[in-house]
Amino acid sequence: MKKLLSLIVASVVMCAALFTGCGTAASESNAEAGGAGASDFIVGAIYINSQNDNAGYTYAHHQGIVKAMEALGLNTETNLKIRDNVPEDDEQVRTAIEQLAGQGCDIIFGISFGYINAFAEAAEEYPDIVFCHATGYLSNDRNFNNYFGRIYQARYLAGIAAGYKSLEIGNNNIGYVSAWGTEYAETCSGINAFALGARAVNPDAVVHVNEIYTWGDQELERQAAEVLVSTYGCGVIAQHCDSAQPQIVAQEQGVYGCGYNSDMASDAPDAHLTAPVWNWNVYYQLAIETAMNEASAADFFTNIGGNYYGGLNEGMVDISPLTDNNAPEAAEAIELARNLMVSGEWDVFSGTALVFSGEAGSVTVEQVSQALMDNEGNIIVDGGQGSVDDSVIQGSMNYYVDGVVAES
């Protein structure tokens, strides 16, 4: 026993000596690198899940920030400071912000809605740091803005693909596994846009929504998809949830599907049509570049043009490449709709509906004046009128459009 002890003590002492030796050397070289670095602009980020996730919401944001920094020539090893797994608790978010501020961050991104209070306060307390909050609605006119994307535009395009598929297989039932329903405008607007896209192609299509009441739970996502296929006979499964489980179910059951967040074709090669995807790097690059080039953090809000709500036009949202599983008309129709949205000529939630017709090779689109109705028969937008406000799409939309049926 004594021998063992002395052995342990001796090895500990040796290790300690070794580490101290290389410690001083390394910290010196760090200091040099810092002084002579290409850029001393430091980016901070606060994540809701782990920075080492390999799918899902946090993953998408982390990829976006890394890609943006690489494009701007910033070192993601030294110039990116991250606090991850930070729960939506004001005190813990505040601590995370203080730690990132203490590390010298010039801009701090927060990706989860519940960070909103802490971000709003921190923006006042640290006027020299730029704060950007995803999915929120608060801002000041100096160093604090919020950002999100018109994902509903991509949803509409995915809806077109689903609509054509439903025509091809002769099954008007389309399923939709959703984290939440009308409780959140984010999920609600996505479902509505998808349904409008599907019905622009197949007016008889019905979108069956199965809600799982949580943002992510692989088992529930799976079960919800199975129910949509077995009970409601759906031939296409779309989704607004974190994992690819609904697509995997579609593959297993021999039906089709539209993923979300990232291209899910590899998860369900025989089922996947296309997925609405986020290109967060578009915003992150814009925000970091704006903050890098300005004299004062107080100019940020003006320089970046206020709060950010980019769409297809900016490249902030898109759909993943169409797979060979798609009906032949889908690609052309999607291109037509995309052009109308990119040019700003038309948008999804307006009193003008798109109607597609024609065979593959000669698909045409027609704009017809048609009131936007909810599924209880109320008129949301009169025929021919413009789109609902962005604030409605982002914040207060709490109804389903005609053709959507809530199944849970």
Partner: protein, 367 residues
């Protein structure tokens, strides 16, 4: 050959210290191996961790404040739990009692924060938390003494009940729900009115919150309560043997209920402090102190001064790991947790070996 664990006959203080030194050293070396495998210099990492990232920090005062915000709830909760543990009453309901206190404190904050002076609001918040959480303790103690229920199960289940209560409040948008922001379409907890937010003494850039002073005062009071008062003595006797207490003519029901009320009420008070400091509540407001407090109480062998030291060390470890995970891109929260666990495990193992030792016994079927 067989190995057998036996209790040490005597524990020499030198041996105990040596064991802890070895335990900590082993965790440093193990952690060092993990860190090196990620290409991080362990010495620099440990320096950043143990100095809670103060070196080269732009806002050092904020780091100290952040550390104290972890320390205060942990200290009070550990003290409160040790009251119950001294009596061999296994209160593992710290989480639930903490949440109860936080909910009732914020109820007062939202309802009275605008109409009363700050000192009154904060005091009322503390009283509301103290009584509400204390009542939870009263219920478990009453059930235990009257019906001999298992307090471990009861307190454990109450944790989940309270967690779901606060989740319900936090996720339900309704007219009655004054806990939430009214301008938000999504449910999110509102900020307290300014008068319900904990203040402190400003020293330069540094703000020493009154809750820090209060928690130290509570530690001193608990120390004297246990050491010098009749009630403290009664707790010790009941903890040693309920029958002895009965023969001595003590009212076991009264002592148990009073002590557990106090234990739970103090944890509720910690919840009120956390809510007032944060200026709001959340489902994650406890920061797991109900669990960490159990570890602290046991590591400290229920000694009040040691609880103070251990709470501080664990807070340093927690804050330091967070700070380090922010400054190294390779380190994520999970890794920081792993490091924390490594340290805790080594220290607990050292504690174990200071009481027990493994000996070899020559068995006949030795092969």
């Amino acid at each position: 050959m067989r190995l057998k664990i036996i209790r040490r006959k005597e524990t020499r203080i030198v041996n105990v210290i040596l064991l802890y030194v070895i335990g900590i050293a082993v965790s440093f070396v193990l952690g060092g191996i993990f860190l090196s495998s990620l290409g991080i210099n362990p010495v620099v990492y440990y320096r950043d961790m143990l100095t809670i990232g103060l070196i080269g920090n732009y806002y050092p005062a904020k780091s100290i404040e952040g550390l104290l915000k972890l320390f205060v709830p942990l200290l009070i909760t550990s003290l409160a739990l040790s009251l119950a543990f001294k009596m061999k009453f296994w209160n593992i309901g710290g989480e639930g009692e903490f949440i109860t206190g936080a909910i009732f404190a914020s109820w007062v904050a939202f309802k009275l924060g605008d109409s009363m002076p700050r000192i009154v609001v904060i005091l009322l918040m503390c009283i509301a938390a103290f009584i509400s959480a204390g009542l939870i303790g009263f219920i478990t103690a009453h059930l235990k003494v009257k019906f001999n229920t298992n307090e471990t199960l009861v307190t454990l289940m109450l944790n989940y009940i309270m967690l779901y209560v606060i989740k319900y409040i936090g996720e339900t948008k309704a007219d009655w729900n004054f806990f939430l922001r009214t301008d938000s379409e999504r449910p999110v907890f509102a900020r307290f009115p300014e008068n319900a937010v904990m203040q402190g003494i400003t020293i330069g850039n540094f703000k020493l919150l009154y809750s820090v002073l209060a928690s130290i005062a509570i530690a001193v009071i608990v120390y004297f309560y246990l050491k010098r008062t009749k009630q403290g003595y009664e707790i010790a006797v009941v903890g040693d043997s309920v029958n002895t207490a009965r023969y001595a003519g003590m009212n076991v029901y009264k002592i148990t209920v009073r002590t557990i009320f106090l234990s739970a009420a103090l944890i509720g008070l910690a919840g009120a402090f956390a809510a007032a400091t944060s200026g709001t509540i959340s489902t994650d407001i406890t920061n797991n102190v109900g669990w960490t407090g159990v570890i602290v109480a046991w590591l400290s062998r229920l000694s009040v001064p040691v609880i103070g030291v251990v709470s501080l060390l664990i807070s340093v470890l927690q804050y330091g790991c967070q700070a380090a995970s922010a400054s190294y891109s390779q380190i994520d929260h999970n890794f920081a947790d792993l490091m924390q666990g490594l340290f805790m495990f080594s220290i607990l193992a050292a504690g174990f070996f200071s009481h027990f030792k493994i000996v070899r016994t020559g068995g006949k079927n030795d092969d």
